[in-house]
């Protein structure tokens, strides 16, 4: 069920844009932000608020690389597999990540910690090879920087459980 907060947010977007359907992208982005992914139920309810068939909202949702239609892990890694990164050896970086997490593209690790996704150009070409981790950019990746990044996540997790 959509929360009251979510419904209010959708109505506010509709009002701001002066058109129900036009708020489709903003609605999906909001649901994604609030929930980490967009379930079938959430999508169907949102479509009702927007006054459009749920199939049509679905076609908008699947066009968005950043709207997840399946449950994802606590952390989401989007590894760029586009041209500038690929020329700079993104292949081996992706292999390293897959090896470390034991998952392939589109999969979530068994402990529910990580989801790994491919990304069309992230626009971080000057830092190639690059990825985002929970939306934050990381560039000039190599075995060493990846170690640092994963070590830091490990520490954060430690910090969390200490609270």
């Amino acid at each position: 069920m959509l929360s009251e907060l979510e419904r209010t947010a959708i109505r506010a977007a509709v009002e701001r844009l002066g058109d129900r359907r036009a708020a489709a992208a903003e609605t999906l982005a909001m649901l994604q932000r609030e929930r980490g992914w967009v379930s079938d139920e959430a999508l169907a309810e949102a479509a009702m608020v927007l006054g459009m068939p749920r199939e049509e909202l679905e076609t908008v949702a699947t066009a968005f690389e950043l709207v997840f239609r399946r449950r994802v892990g606590r952390h989401v890694i989007m590894a760029c597999d586009s041209v500038s990164c690929w020329i700079k050896g993104a292949d081996s970086i992706v292999a390293l990540i897959k090896e470390r997490l034991g998952i392939g593209f589109g999969e979530t690790s068994a402990d529910g910690e990580f989801t790994l996704l491919p990304a069309g150009c992230l626009g971080l070409c000057e830092q190639a090879p690059a990825m985002t981790l929970d939306g934050l950019p990381y560039g000039r990746l190599d075995a060493k920087t990846l170690d640092e990044i994963f070590a830091r996540i490990g520490e954060d997790k430690h910090g969390d459980s200490a609270h």
């Binding site: 489709a24 982005a29 050896g89 150009c121 830092q127």
Partner: protein
């Protein structure tokens, strides 16, 4: 009270990913801790362009240009420069080997041949402070438009300037505005295309991050010219920093009466909304973008009617690229005569490019039209990394083609790049060296187009798949000479029959590499050989037991890992698991890893 020093820290996404945010905070903490908080102003700017050496810090008034600065360096910068007034020599950019030369921005080769019009404020002002934009002639173009010019005068000004669209196709901007202005209807719209889905391109992102008001100003001018009261900036959701800076800028513009009702007391009303893009390449195509704005899946529709007549919600709409708008703010404040002197006869002004790939200085550059590729790649970009040989540069992304060494001295313009079988595109330049394989590249771009094709029209949906299948076959050494003719035939059919330019230009990378490097295609087919060693099915890495000293470096570098061996004993690669990334080949210091 005047500050003794200004510290400008690059706050572009690229530098933020290399900890410029931590550096920024560390500088603040140090200024506070060392008791000089009131002597120094620390500002986060937009991109300096010299991304290769980021994070960049510039300190005024000395103009010290520091590169690859780390958060740990903050203490020394504050202690030395702010407290004692001395430069931190070890962080200064070094020209060649001379360690002590104190190099200013204008001495750095990377900046010498550049001419910054679009990027004039990037790395100079704080993009989150409207006053700094205004202090550099910001919003004077809008003032001139509202109070000294009629809409027709503005159209004429653009005509004199010679500005053409920077989104790729180079359509004359004045004509687009004029058509929309003359189109019947009370409701019209101004749209900015900031989708930038072109792989290898990030000029628009950096421009917005560094100077958001420059875009906003031009959109207001457009609204006034064509008679629109509402504008939309369609920006991809992958650009969170640019979105944030735009939001701040729009809020400030509203506070200053530059957006909203009765702008600057002129009686003209105009408002702007930010709309999120899907990060799908095809959504950058203007008709698909407009459908997406309406809340539909972004798919192209046939033209005509053009957006100028029937655009957003079927109303007359101007849609321009970010860089096109930013140029307009400059044209309106400095005048069309000034602008028209820059560039070539048919391609006026400057163009920004994102240099990526095997280039020494990857980064963001801006040069006058008419600059040669050699100047861009070798003088500004510093040439190819690691002393390798230049093979080609891809311009125009997946819609463009490869340009080879023999054309390096061509002055760039819309016409010259098209004549070379490529196109201007949005400004991505991907530089390739001898280790890159043209078949592999063509296959890569085709795979991109297969992914990004919206599927609406058959030539693109089927053609991209078929071409990809053939390229895949060739890359595996299973192609025939017939296949080359097939590629050309399908490519031509797609070019002619596709609904939009995604399909219409998807064959270009393949056709252009075929034209320039047919020999290499034939090598794959006849000799089952990939000279660059990139086509994985045609290359085998092996370890020469006689040369291997068993240092284990290759095994440590191997990402799989599939290299095993005892210490000080020859190592072996497990061929079944090898992903042929070549890391071992690059790592071995004894030439023991052989590529076959």
């Amino acid at each position: 009270m005047a500050y003794k020093n200004y510290i400008l820290v690059c706050g572009g996404t690229g530098c933020e990913s290399s900890k410029s945010d931590e550096l920024f905070k560390a500088l603040h903490q140090q200024a506070e801790a060392q008791g000089v908080k009131n002597d120094v102003q620390i500002v986060k700017t937009g991109c300096f362009g010299f991304c290769e050496k980021g994070p960049i810090v510039k300190v005024l008034p000395q103009e010290s240009f520091y590169v690859e600065v780390k958060p740990e360096d903050a203490k020394e910068i504050v202690a030395e420069q702010v407290v004692k007034g001395r430069e931190v020599k070890r962080l200064l950019y070094r020209k060649g080997e001379k360690a002590d030369s104190n190099v200013k921005i204008e001495d750095i080769e990377f900046y010498q041949k550049q001419f910054r019009v679009v990027l004039r404020n990037c790395g100079v002002i704080n993009p989150e402070n409207i006053d700094e934009y205004i202090a550099r002639e910001g919003y004077t173009g809008l003032e001139r438009a509202l109070f000294k010019m009629k809409p027709d005068d503005i159209v004429n000004e653009l005509k004199v300037s010679g500005l053409r669209g920077r989104g790729g196709a180079g359509f004359p901007t004045w004509l687009k505005w004029d058509l929309t202005k003359k189109a019947p209807g009370d409701v019209k719209y101004v749209v900015c295309n900031a989708d930038e889905g072109d792989p290898g391109a990030y000029m628009n992102r950096s421009t917005i991050e560094g100077d958001p008001h420059s875009l906003i100003e031009a959109m207001i001018i457009c609204g006034y010219t064509i008679g629109a009261r509402q504008g939309y900036i369609y920006i991809r959701a992958e650009y969170p920093l640019a979105i944030e800076r735009l939001k701040i800028a729009i809020r400030q513009a509203k506070e200053y009466g530059l957006l909203g009702t009765n702008i600057l007391g002129s009686g003209f009303d105009f408002d702007l909304e930010i709309r999120l893009g899907a990060g799908a390449f095809v959504c950058g195509e203007e008709t698909a973008l407009l459908r997406s704005l309406e809340g539909n899946r972004g798919m192209p529709v046939p033209k005509p009617p053009f957006p100028a007549i029937s655009g957003l919600w079927k109303k007359p709409t101007v849609i321009n690229n970010v860089e096109t708008y930013v140029n307009i703010s400059v044209i309106m404040s400095k005048g069309a005569q000034w602008y028209a002197k820059i560039g070539t006869e048919k391609s006026r002004g400057t163009k920004t490019f994102a240099l990526t790939g095997k280039i020494q200085n990857s980064g963001l550059v801006e040069v006058p039209m008419g600059t040669t590729l050699r100047e861009i790649i070798f003088d500004i970009g510093g040439g190819i990394r690691g002393g390798k040989k230049f093979k080609g540069v891809q311009t125009g992304g997946p819609s463009g083609g490869i340009i080879t060494a023999e054309s390096l001295d061509q002055p760039i313009s819309y016409e010259s790049l098209t004549a070379l079988g490529s196109m201007m595109g949005s400004g991505g330049m991907i530089i390739m060296d001898e280790d890159d394989c043209v078949v592999d590249i063509a296959k890569f771009y085709m795979a991109f187009c297969v992914d990004e094709s919206c599927g609406k029209c058959a030539p693109c949906r089927i053609g991209t798949n078929q071409m990809h299948a053939i390229l895949d076959k060739i890359s595996k050494g299973q192609g025939t000479e017939d296949d080359l003719a097939k590629l050309e035939k399908i490519g031509k059919a797609m070019t002619k029959a596709s609904l939009c330019m995604l399909g219409g230009s998807a064959a270009n990378p393949t056709l252009s590499t075929l034209r320039h490097f047919r020999e290499e295609y034939l090598e794959h087919i006849r000799d089952h050989k990939c000279r660059a060693g990139k086509c994985k099915d045609l290359v085998v890495y092996e370890i020469d037991a006689a040369k291997c000293i068993g240092c284990g470096l290759c095994a440590r570098k191997c990402p799989v890992p599939c290299i095993a061996g005892e210490k000080k004993q020859p190592h072996v690669i497990d061929q079944a698991r090898c992903i042929k990334c070549g890391e071992c080949y690059k790592a071995c210091k004894f030439g023991a890893v052989i590529k076959k």
